[in-house]
């Protein structure tokens, strides 16, 4: 092969001498490292050293990260109270639907929460819905972002059917999402002292400023025969109706929490909190659960050990691989790049046939 290479390069120089006359017409490709596919390149190969180092490095990084995450999750204090069943009076327990639909029944319900650990402010109040498919395709699509953004788009209700237009004109905000607005309310007391719930700034600023117009006021909302959820104060622009804005940011998964408000006071351990719930929202028709959640927060968000466990597992696995590979390389080594391992060298007879 070298002979060919040498010959052709020899030919090339000879040609360049004689090519002064025909240089212009020569079709000889110009040499460049690019066209000859010889760009300088790094060619990593998986040497035992590299492999083991990779695994060890991943292990060393992942295990501490996992532990930190677990620790952070551990630090979160969370109180969860499921109240959907408990808040239905005993005589309605076989007919929850009738209870929740009736306008006459008393919907208020008092629950008592025990604070096990001290909670530092701010304490976030969430409501959690289980088995509520806010990500159902029809539900997700049933909104009109144009209408929400400005007054001009008021009549843009095409996507909102069947909750688009009422007898009196377009519904603002239209669509199933808005129509099914969550409308349970909570009032908190500690030792008969009312705990202030701050419901401001619970929605994303970006949504308030860009997605929900300050000139858009609720109109014809929940005016039909079937009420889906909460009412809206038609004198407050949508950009200020933060509970609606929170609700309209549809959840990704069928079990989700939404921010209800914040308590900006520390709570001591062993305190009892009395919650008065207006149990208005109908989750009984589809077997959904309602939960009230009080939670502090850390950098990892709510209480969730999954990520920490995942990190520790992956890190541990990597260390395990590192050790196994060290052992493998010691027990059964193969010299790298040894041509005697090439198939035709191992089995010279077999090759040419």
């Amino acid at each position: 092969m070298n002979a060919i290479g040498a010959a052709s390069s020899g030919g090339a120089t000879a040609a360049s001498d004689s090519s002064t006359t025909t240089k212009k017409n020569s079709k000889k490709p110009k040499y460049s490292r690019f066209t000859q596919q010889e760009l300088p390149a790094c060619k990593p190969i998986l040497t035992p050293g590299l492999v083991i180092t990779t695994f060890i490095v991943i292990g060393i990084i992942f295990i501490p990260v996992g532990l930190v995450s677990l620790f952070a999750s551990e630090k979160v204090v969370e109180i969860v109270d499921r109240y959907d069943d408990g808040c239905v009076p005993r005589n309605y327990s076989n007919n929850k639907l009738a209870y929740i639909r009736s306008k006459l029944t008393d919907k208020s319900c008092t629950r008592t929460l025990n604070i096990v650990k001290p909670m530092k402010s701010p304490i976030y109040i969430y409501y959690q819905l289980d088995n509520f498919y806010q990500n159902h395709r029809r539900y997700v699509k049933s909104r009109s972002d144009k209408q929400l953004r400005s007054k001009k788009g008021e009549s843009e209700t095409k996507l909102c059917d069947p909750e688009g237009v009422s007898a009196n004109g377009p519904i603002v905000p239209c669509g199933l999402i808005a129509w099914s607005l969550f409308n349970d309310t909570y009032k908190f007391k500690v030792k008969n002292k009312v705990l202030e719930v701050n419901k401001k700034n619970i929605a994303w600023k970006s949504d308030k400023s860009k997605k929900f117009g300050s000139d858009v006021y609720p109109k014809n909302f929940q005016s039909g025969g079937l009420i889906g959820g909460g009412q809206l104060n038609s004198s407050i622009p949508l950009s200020e109706q933060e509970n609606l804005i929170v609700w309209m940011r549809t959840a990704a998964l069928p079990t989700f929490r939404k921010l209800y408000g914040k308590i900006e006071e520390d709570l001591q351990a062993n305190q009892q909190i009395t919650v008065v719930i207006q149990n208005n929202y109908n989750t009984y028709s589809f077997g959904g659960k309602k939960k009230l959640v009080l939670s502090t927060t850390t950098w990892i968000g709510g209480k969730n050990d999954f990520l920490g466990i995942a990190y520790v597992t992956v890190g541990g696995l990597c260390l395990f691989f590192a050790i196994s590979f060290i052992l493998l390389y010691v027990v059964k080594p193969r010299p790298l790049g040894d041509p005697s391992y090439l198939s035709w060298n191992r089995n010279p007879a077999g090759h040419l046939n």
Binding site: C42, D145, L226, S285, L342
Partner: protein
Amino acid sequence: MHSAAVEAFDLWITASRQHLSIPSPTILNTRDLDTPPVSSEIEKPNSTYPTMNSGMDSKSPLENPSNTEFAGSTSSRPSISSLQYKASAGNSIKEVAFGDSGSRPVRYGSRGAESEALSTSQKEINEEDARLVYINDPGKTNERYEFAGNSVRTSKYSIVTFLPKNLFEQFHRVAYIYFLVIAVLNQLPQLAVFGRGASILPLAFVLLVTAIKDAYEDYRRHRSDKIENNRLAFVLVNGQFEQKKWKHIQVGEVIKIHANETMPCDMVLLSTSDPTGVAYVQTTNLDGESNLKTRYAKQETLLKINEGKFSGLIKCEKPNRNVYGFLANLEIDGKLLSLGPSNIILRGCELKNTAWALGVVVYAGRETKAMLNSSGAPSKRSWLETRMNYEIITLSFFLAALCTVVSVCAAVWLRRHRDELDYIVFFGKQEYSTGAAKDYNYYGWGAEMFLTFLMAVIVFQIMIPISLYISMELVRVGQAYFMIRDTQMYDEASDSRFQCRSLNINEDLGQIKYVFSDKTGTLTENKMEFRCASIWGVDFSGGNGASQNQQNGYSVQVDENIWRPKMSVKVDPELLRFLRMRKDAKEDNHVHDFFLALAACNTIVPLVVDTSDPHVKLVDYQGESPDEQALVYAAAAYGFMLMKRTTGYIVIDVQGDKQRFNVLGLHEFDSDRKRMSVILGCPDKTVKVFVKGADTSMFSVIDRSLNMDVRHTTEVHLRSYSSLGLRTLVIGMRELSATEFEQWHSSFKAASTSLIGRAALLREVAGNVENRLCILGATGIEDKLQQGVPEAIESLRMAGIKVWVLTGDKQETAISIGYSSRLLTDQMTQIQINSNSTESCRRRLDDAMAMSDNNTGGTSGAGSALIALIIDGTSLVYILDSELEEKLFQLASRCSVVLCCRVAPLQKAGIVALVKKRTADMTLAIGDGANDVSMIQMAAVGVGISGQEGRQAVMASDFAMGQFRFLVPLLLVHGHWNYQRMGYMILYNFYRNAVFVLILFWYVLFTCFTLTTAITEWSSMLYSVIYTSVPTIVVGILDKDLSRNTLQRWPQLYGAGHRQECYNNRLFWLTMIDTLWQSIAAFFVPLYAYWGSTIDGSSLGDLWTLAAVILVNLHLAMDVIRWNWISHAAIWGSIIVSFVCVVIIDALPILPGYWAIFHIGKTRLFWLCLLVIVVSALIPRFVIKVLYQYYRPCDVQIARETEKLGNQGELGAVEIEMN
């Protein structure tokens, strides 16, 4: 050529009869021939010749008798093109061409069409089929028929037709139709999963890219058309020649062409600057042959036009593709003349050595033969692409399965909740506003199931990777770019680059198992060199030694100037001495006659070329046969220099003495006779016939009673020449008596003027005069091996490629070339099959099988038992297309080398088909001549050598290059790379899209099976178009698993392609399992990390999008072997671009996901999720890869390590060499 000579001779006869008193323009006078030469010899009666011929045939003395049977071509270079050309010049194509093998019908598809086109030339012109051309009366010519104008259009589209036509062509692809159907489905309101814009985007993008590519190509064609159409030519208008644009030229117009101008259309020659009406043309543009060809104007038109009158009626056949045929009548002054191919000059030819030529346009524009022939190579499909279709079908099943799961689950959900549907907000059977019961878009669970299925198809559509098709196309273009620009595949001698004529089969180059090679011009240079001569029984084969000192060779003084042959030939000093010694010895003229025959018995035209020295002129011998050229140069070197050739006479400088020989007649070479002859009127008033031809045909016409010993020694010499690998010719001569001459002359004249069956008659005349010859001697011409051929063949063989050589040459020549090219080695057992009946073929095959059984059985432990099979064309006649085919294949597949000698072009294709039909192995055919076309088109990959022999092979090929040895870089380097890259790219594309689809699928399981996508529709459309496409293409074009040096040092590495290491079923399923795991990791980590949190759909969708993008790009990064700056830019760039795109999409307030990425991006959880997804998804692949590479390393892997860890490599190289 033939009829040309005939006519010229005709002319000379008439001239000498009618204008006896007019002195001819040269010193020598026609008087020489006025008195026919007298000879006292008495001939035998004619009738004895045939019996004698046949008698000799049957016991032809040379090697084996079966050889004579077959019409391989021995003497002049056996290209069918030249045979065809010469024969068709005699107005009858049917005798030669592909009818060669006699009983075998013309088959093998692609040739069929052409042979049909050829056959149209043989028919007599019917009145209704004819096209009538009135000379110089374009008005009348064009009034009845609409003949095409002369403007040509090679472009496919115009601005108006571009869109519909281009779209129509693009939608020939099934995949595109699939995506179109999906885009249309998505427009139905019930199924509208995506917005209108988003759903059309990917298809539109793919269509747009292809359309832009097509438009650019077409624009270039438009431009070249415009230049072509606006060239100027002189056209006769109202008796004056005026300049006219080419596009305005009409059929029937008379055109004047000057020297070195190109023909604007096909025209019948009327007159030229030469008084005898000769014009020389160069047909490089048409068929690539650079030698000059002669064309003639008819005497009648010549005279008439010289008087200034242009009239007449040409009746010619309809336009057809046959470049070598033309059939027409010319009616002039009531006389009917026949016109043949020698009277027509085709578009694209250049006029040379002729001051001007006048012609009448017969075919113009797209009806010209050049245009009719300008169709491209047939498209082939690569093996990988064919194989890929199975995987595409598998993926379709996946897709269907996913959709079925979703739709069935959806139906089950609806059934289970059918009582609750009234209340559930999504279906609300009740009218929300009024409370009245009313279905809202609920069609019952059955219909919902069906709709869900269709919607699922829309959502999961990219399971079938549309972008793969466009990526493959771009990658192939990129690979072709690098192949074309490879300096190792640039041929200095012919200044030709590598050419990719077909862009579909790059990757097949990496899996070639059989190479079928032509010999002459492919393995050898087809530059003939005169090496040795046997004259009158004396062998002169020196010339290798001290001859170099007379570097100037022979030269002739003409006036003030010195004429010298352009090419010098090594001369045998002994022969030179011998010649000088004998110069005056009149009694023994054999040497003299021998060289005279070499100089005269040919169709070579000497051209005088100026050099930088004004006193030195070079004589360039132009001719169609390289053998003839070599012989004429040789004759010149020994002092018999051909100075001038006109139609009637030639001038030869015999040892400084210029002599004029009248050419009384010329019998062209044809493949039946396998010889040619010329009848010369010599200065000493004798008439001699000189014949040269293949040994087998010559020995049958030699007078056996004469010079027994000379004949015998010549035979011995011939055998030794051919065993040296030389091409041999035998020269003979005879002096004609006056009566013989008269007899011949009258029959020759009658034959050459007859309109029907002219060629057959001429052959008969030739047969009558070419007999009872006195043998003069034989010549040996070397067809040198091309540079690097032995090394290349060695490399190919080491790479596990079986090289078969198919040649028209004799067995001895073929075997000796086999040895010199290292195809055959001494260790090989040769099996030769030369049989002439089915029975004996069967016997030989059985024997050979038994022998190979023994061989392989007995020595399997000891080492490699190599068998070479040598088979000839005659045997193949009995074997191909019979039940013996299977046996031959069995045998051949055990042989490491197969040599087929004396095979006809169609047999070459038959042999390729023999292998192609029976195995899935890839075949490659390489050749340079028209006789290789059928084989090139038959093989999976056809490679044309753009060499000495015209462009037919190149035109039919998929790849074209200058030298045989470029096969090594082409296959071992580029083929290997292309295969590896393409195989990886296809698998990666499957994986890439499937991961994404699976992530969508998992999410669907958490949304009541309603096909919501958390990932925005824009991201899911851009995913395969922008987020992940560039790195695949870059890697597909640029990644190299091994360096060029390694691949060439260890050709065995090519076996990776044979073993299908880069693309196979196992890899596909492994990839799919990996895909499943990766999608699970990417989907479920965020799911559990965010379960029961406040996360909204858009944010989680962004997380999944980015996770998928980073994952697939890092997956690719893990597999990239060579990181150069371009791959860095592509991979990291893609990730960055994806981030940017996601940010842009989330910055649009109109979309529900507004600002989501900024919110989630602020949390550490998001980044930790990304990290753990990527790591956990890639760990299994990494571990398996490491284990495989370490404990089950493939050759490529070891070679790569060797490459990286240099010093150990040197050690290995030594070892290899010892092996």
